[in-house]
Amino acid sequence: MTYEVPEIPGEQTEDPTGHHEEHGWPLWEVFVRPKRGLNHSHAGSLHAPDAEAAVQNARDAYTRRAEGISVWVVPSAAIHASDDSEAMFEPFEDRPYRHPTFYDIPDEVGQM
């Protein structure tokens, strides 16, 4: 459980990504609903041969202490992500009038 194991002779120091072909089970993303009334939210991922086994594994890996009352599992490959570079979200910065704080309301008017 240490995080600083010094480099020693024989240790692999090359970048290990993409060297070894993946023969294992597919990757699933796990979403947990902590309690009724709340959204399922992303908890992490795991490997499993199919959805049914993924739900079982998710229960053991992510809800050992009543962290949830319901789980969803989604094949990681089925998730389409946005391009998180600025262009996609930047325009919102130019539109302060979409926020309530853009408007000055006189104090006498009171809470609005």
């Binding site: 459980m1 240490t2 600083e4 240790e11 290990p16 993946e22 089970w25 992490g44 053991d60």
Partner: protein
């Protein structure tokens, strides 16, 4: 703005780097190495404690120990998942562990000789891990930081169950107190070594601090651990195997004697008598579990055929 500018800005702003962001190769490589070692340590760490499950003194202690060892497996899984977001596969990480090309913490190359060792591991080894992992909750890589938050929530149970084992022994017979003292004598120095070499000799610290992978240095973390642990030991009525251990009124810190770094390097390099055994047991478990994985895959295949039929 280039990817590199954005990366530097994120680090400077104490923001988190996320998997799809541009990051320097060195940053990614350092993280893969560190998270993999951390994950391997959780998995190999199941062995010394698993050794005592069948011999726990009461049924309650037994189910507690099983829950703890199960947590370690869970922690390994959180960390492997975090490593995978950096583009390395689970199979590859396992292959590197099995072939000795990636390491785990040398603390797990010490044997668990008595039941008191299970108490000492919880109190000292998990205690040291908590100090380290709390600091890592603010590491700059998002998936690693989130895994740390999850792990820290569970880790406090580990330290407390260990201390509770020792408390019971401290209120026991002369022989039980002697067994406890013997365990502390053997685990104290290795626990201090868990924080890694002194700052002046640590090859990774400077760059890792710059990238905010690491937020607190080895020596600072070690001092924090000593300061919180020594008073807890007094409550148990144990002594620490360090004649130089003294309280420094001026700084308010407990000062320790010199650490035997020759022993540390010997154990890290695999001279620990158990290191070969630990890896062999891990490989054996993987091979003996092959039929379970094959059966699960075959069942998944059968169910999917039935659904499409």
């Amino acid at each position: 703005m280039t990817g590199e500018d954005r990366f530097l800005e994120t680090i400077a702003a104490d923001d988190k780097v996320e998997p799809r962001d541009w990051m320097p190769d060195g940053y990614r490589k350092t993280l893969i190495r560190q998270i993999a070692q951390h994950a391997h340590s959780e998995i190999i760490g199941m062995q010394p404690e698993g050794n005592w499950i069948t011999r726990a003194p009461t049924l309650m202690r037994k189910i507690i120990l099983m829950a703890k060892v199960q947590d370690e497996a869970g922690h390994g899984l959180y960390l492997y998942s975090a490593a995978e977001t950096l583009g390395v596969s689970r199979d590859e990480l396992q292959h590197l562990l099995h072939t000795g090309q990636q390491k785990y913490s040398s603390i797990f190359n010490y044997p668990t000789l008595s039941w008191a060792d299970i108490g000492a591991i919880g109190w000292l080894v998990d205690g040291a891990a908590i100090v380290n992992q709390i600091a890592l909750q603010s590491t700059s890589y998002g998936p690693y930081a989130r895994a740390m938050v999850r792990i820290c929530k569970e880790e406090s149970f580990h330290a407390r169950q260990g201390y509770s084992i020792l408390l019971a022994l401290s209120r026991g017979s002369e022989a039980q107190r002697a067994m406890m003292q013997d365990a502390i004598d053997r685990w104290w120095w290795p626990s201090l070594m868990m924080f890694g070499p002194p700052d002046v000799e640590s090859t990774h610290t400077e760059q890792s601090m710059e990238w905010k992978i690491k937020r607190v240095t080895n020596d600072e973390l070690r001092q924090q651990f000593v300061d919180q642990t020594v008073p807890q030991g007094e409550h148990l009525g144990v002594t620490f195997p360090d004649p130089d251990l003294t309280y420094d009124e001026g700084s308010g810190h407990w000062m320790i004697g010199d650490i035997d770094w020759d022993e540390f390097w010997a154990v890290v390099k695999g001279d620990g008598r158990l290191s070969r055994e630990r890896i062999a047991a891990k490989v054996r478990a993987w091979e003996e579990g092959a039929w379970v994985r094959e059966a699960a895959a075959a069942y998944a295949e059968k169910v999917s055929l039935r659904r499409t039929a």
